[in-house]
Symmetry: C2
Subunit: 404 residues, 2 copies
């Protein structure tokens, strides 16, 4: 597996573009992204579990029910959620995009992120789409990833190359976070592209498996957004033998999908609203994987643990507390907790009780930008990792400010 | 039902005291409380569901297994949790208290609140208890309630009088919050006293029913503490006909227990760490009570909703989002949301979608110290109310500061 440049346009046949069309008032912020494959793609997606969900989710689900897509249109600045005319507007976005590209509206993935409950102004999108189509390019990935950002402070993209069946297969991704976002809420979005030849069912399987261990293990503030979606389009231009069942090729493909999703997940967590640091929590030797996942997520979601991370405080009692209130059947008196960063590692709790440790050393470790919390339960072979961030003044500021 | 003064010593036969014994360095902060009944009491308690729980919980559970207690000793400043010698120390506290009062150590309720994972220094408690016993008095409730406070900014106590079986029955309570507390975590504690004559099973039943609708409907930060406990002691001195089954007398008693627990719950929520306002959320016409409870708690626990309350932002999308990610089976397209305070009320969402409203009026409503969110689901007769507070810079400050 080799990291390459190019983001979502790294795989053969994909082009992208991003512009400011006018949904946002700030003319320096791009707000409309287009992603296109020169040939039809097998497509798969996973969606938010929130019962309140955006109109673009309704429309995308319908459009890729046949397992196919060829383009993706995404605006930022308005989530098109909780609007009476939301589905109609999302369908209009597909029709406009299809017309500009000369393809079917049913082959479009549509996404929106931004304010909810505010009617989507279709005018800027209607005038923007015809401008986007002619400027689609291999270099456009950088503009596209900018256009899907909301409170993100950094663009999030990545690409990898692997060998499958003697052919070089590429996979690219772009994503956005970063919490439910000012002013109302928004969305975690991930768009993956690949030139791998793979059937839709296997594509869906790979995406689901990867997302469960990556995007679904991220929490910025415990609030499940209404518009979350991760999609993948596979156009087959790598000409590898089609992956149509499990086996070595599928495993290789899954590995790279997981790798790119892990990278996106970490970028989203580390760029959480107001965050000053990424917190990675791994649970080892849990009774089973499900509990390992639940416990690692419980820790990175705990407001008190997050505030302690902000304060660089090795406050292991809060970690143990968050373990203790996780639902499930497990013992606490075998648990040890280690905290580490590039500055070193330190054992803070053993057999469920505190051990003496050097507070100055702990503080030095916790002042870094990427912190690891390792929990060893010594009760089985369940393993999981979750990613979060610290809780800061800026989180409160970003989310407490009056909408303007 | 009549509100009276006197807190936990309002009922006949109860006395209390509180002093600074030296667990805390700050000599102006009382840190040891004693509560005593001149005759043995029927006793009941409910405890944290966290699998990591304090040694005092272990000891109290054992002591009141026979349904009896006569005194309560509580220190603040150290939670005596996650300590290898915790149970031993908690038992020592009971023995010392019993000796000072001339009763059995098995008739003591013991509680601790403060730092976890730090060995409890028994010396100040050993020297404090013999000082406390001689100064027990009717006026002592005010010192006792101060002594159990940690980051609480206000003492929390209340007392009521009712008629049961032709006799005047009193009930008193003191409680503390207010989140899991600096520097590690702490505890929600509630201590109720009554001179009502009631059997232990009926006392336990009344407490459980009341706590489920009150203390258990409070969330300051979603973190379930390790030391939470609510206890009640009933000494029978009111000489009412003993309540030994359900009926009119039990209903009257339950009503006043619920009232006093509601009052304590609201005081704890409103005095949550860093809070500037109390947020009360009522869900009406839910499919059932369980869902009504889950949804109201989901709303008051949502970090984004809490931050919006801090910013006086009528950000109903976050409320709908928190409803949507509540587990359970319900529709969202019939839901309306109203926000109110002493400054008025305003409908912000109807049939699951936004309605136009006056933002200035909404802001005026939300700038008050007590905010009500009413959610009408129009799907059944489930009703519930939960209490929380806003998420503020001070919450982050209190919990992010390095332990000193």
């Amino acid at each position: 597996m080799k990291k390459i440049t190019g983001g979502v346009t790294a795989p053969k046949g994909f082009t992208a573009a991003g512009i400011h069309c006018g949904i946002r008032n700030n003319q320096t912020k791009k707000d409309l992204a287009l992603l296109y494959s020169e040939v039809p793609c097998n497509a798969a997606a996973v969606y938010t579990q929130n019962k309140v969900y955006g109109a673009p989710i309704t429309v995308t689900k319908a459009n890729i029910a046949d397992g196919m897509a060829q383009a993706m249109i995404c605006n930022s600045g308005n989530a098109n959620t909780c609007n009476a005319d939301g589905v109609e507007k999302a369908e209009m976005m597909c029709e406009m995009t299809a017309k500009a590209l000369g393809i079917s509206p049913k082959d479009i993935i549509v996404a929106s992120t931004g304010v909810i409950g505010m009617t989507l102004n279709i005018e800027p999108i209607a005038s923007g789409i015809p401008k986007l189509a002619p400027i689609l390019s291999k270099e456009g990935h950088a503009d596209a990833v900018e256009a899907i950002m909301t409170t993100d402070t950094k663009p999030k993209e990545e690409a990898y190359e692997i060998e499958i069946g003697g052919k070089t297969v590429s996979i690219g991704a772009m994503a956005k976070g970063s919490g439910m976002i000012h002013p109302n809420m928004a969305t975690m979005l991930g768009f993956l592209t690949t030139d791998c030849a793979i059937t839709t069912p296997m594509l869906q399987k790979a995406l689901k498996l990867a997302v469960d261990d990556t995007f679904n293990m991220v929490s910025v503030d415990g609030d499940t957004s209404t518009n979350d979606m991760v999609s993948i389009m596979a156009n087959g231009l790598a000409e590898n033998p089609v992956i149509d069942s499990e086996g070595a090729d599928f495993d290789a493909f899954l590995l790279v999908v997981k790798e790119i999703c892990t990278s996106m997940a970490k970028k989203i967590a580390g760029d959480g609203e107001g965050a000053t640091k990424l917190v990675e929590c791994s649970v080892h030797h849990a009774p089973d994987t499900k509990l390992a996942k639940a416990i690692s997520k419980s820790i990175i979601t705990s407001s008190l643990t997050k505030a302690a991370m902000f304060g660089a405080d090795a406050n292991w009692g809060r970690i143990l507390c968050a373990i203790g209130y996780t639902e499930g059947d497990f013992a606490v008196d075998t648990i040890s907790v280690t905290i580490s960063s590039p500055k070193g590692e330190i054992l803070v709790c053993e057999k469920g009780a505190g051990v003496p440790f050097d507070e100055d050393k702990a503080k030095e470790i916790l002042l870094q930008e990427e912190i690891h919390i390792d929990v060893d339960m010594q009760q089985g072979d369940g393993e999981a990792t979750a990613w979060g961030c610290d809780l800061t003044y800026d989180y409160v500021k970003i989310n407490g400010d009056y909408r303007t």
